[in-house]
């Protein structure tokens, strides 16, 4: 983004706060480019600013080495991200405004927190600068749910499937090595469907996963007909699926193909 700004919008400057959530939602990584840091409310503690070092804004000065800070995200934690228009007010010290923001953010539903922050910091005033406010709360599914994903059979879907699967595996408390194995087995099966099931017309890949006692059962379905693998070294995918699963089979239906995987979890 810095390079794009320097190239296409010379002389312009922008501040950015980037937040990337871990697929399991257990942590979030921030990088700040001249942007005020987020507010976090965790457990019963009062709201505080997340300790993120602020690097220079985009577009100005020599391109700096940017720092990233990862913080753990407990269930129910609230994060508040905002632009400077929310806190800057002519004639009032910025420290006082930041204190006011901290007092305003509470651990509650994001809609309510947004309304409260806007009311406390902007009120009926007409703001001079534009204001964006984003409140995020980590909510976890309280009960077990089976996973079902329908995505277009294209390479860019694979990443989406992995992210959804990792979240689901975190919700059933699979261990790290088990997550790696299951994600790679499903990755192989879904990549096969993307590569071999459909011709130019394309189609859909469906991934269903469920937990039955300590076994994860996964079915990857497509509505196409697998052609013979092309190229060398393609047997490796099958070998990886066999080795990373406790059970693996390919079932050809009249109208498509299912890959069935079972993985026993160590509890």
């Amino acid at each position: 983004m810095d390079r794009k700004l320097r190239h296409f919008e010379r002389g312009e400057m922008a501040t950015v706060l980037l937040a990337v959530f871990e697929a399991s939602l257990s942590s979030v990584t921030f990088s700040a480019a001249g942007h005020p840091v987020p507010v976090m409310v965790e457990g019963d503690a009062p709201a505080c600013f997340v300790d993120v070092p602020i690097d220079p804004p985009l577009g100005v000065g020599p391109p700096p080495r940017r720092r990233a800070t990862t913080v753990a995200l407990e269930p129910d934690t609230v994060l508040c991200l905002y632009t400077d228009g929310l806190v800057e007010r002519r004639g009032i010290s910025l420290d006082d405004r930041f204190d006011l923001l901290c007092e305003s953010v509470v651990r509650d539903a994001p809609e309510g927190v947004c309304a409260k922050v806007m009311s406390d910091l902007i009120g009926v005033e007409y703001p001079k600068d534009d204001v964006s406010l984003l409140v995020v709360r980590r909510t976890d599914a309280e009960t077990y749910y089976p996973l079902e994903i329908h995505v277009p059979a294209q390479p860019s879907s694979l990443r989406e499937i992995r992210a959804a699967l990792r979240r689901w595996l975190a919700s059933i408390d699979a261990r790290e090595e088990e997550v790696h194995d299951i994600v790679v087995a499903v990755g192989e099966a879904t990549a096969n469907a993307v590569e071999h099931a459909y011709g130019a017309a394309g189609g859909t890949v469906v991934v269903r996963a469920e937990l039955q006692s300590d076994d994860v059962f996964i079915r990857i379905s497509d509505m196409g007909r697998w052609r013979a693998p092309r190229g060398v070294g393609r047997g490796r995918g099958t070998l990886i699926m066999e080795t990373t699963s406790d059970e693996f089979r390919i079932e050809h239906r009249i109208d498509g193909t299912d890959v069935f995987l079972r993985h026993h979890l160590q509890r």
Binding site: E177, E188, T244
Partner: protein, 108 residues
């Protein structure tokens, strides 16, 4: 997706080049990652190391890159070493796919 999911960085030291790959390698970006690696291992190199410690996802499609690389560098007479720590996602796949039988794979 506009953002790349894997990054390839290289540091050269005389005739040696160290390549570090981070992120996820799949069908969507394997070709790009392969091209990125090829672009940093120059002809004058004598030794190359490829570090997979920070690779968070790789499957048989990604493995293809490294089997191809082993063959290419053997022809070019460039010594190759792959780094994949024990218990890392890449290590597991490197072992299952049998990359360890064709190239030196070190834990660090």
């Amino acid at each position: 997706m506009i953002d790349p999911t894997a990054f390839v960085t290289a540091t050269a030291d005389g005739d040696n080049v160290s390549v570090v790959i981070s992120g996820e390698i799949d069908l969507a970006n394997a070709e790009q990652v392969e091209a990125d690696i090829a672009a940093v291992i120059l002809n004058h190199c004598k030794k190359a190391s490829v570090d997979l410690s920070d690779v968070t996802y790789i499957d048989s499609i990604g493995m293809r890159i490294f089997f191809n690389l082993v063959a290419r560098l053997r022809t070019a007479q460039i010594e190759l070493k792959v780094i994949a720590p024990q218990r890392s996602p890449a290590r597991r796949i490197v072992e299952i796919a049998g990359l360890t039988s064709v190239v030196t794979v070190e834990p660090a």
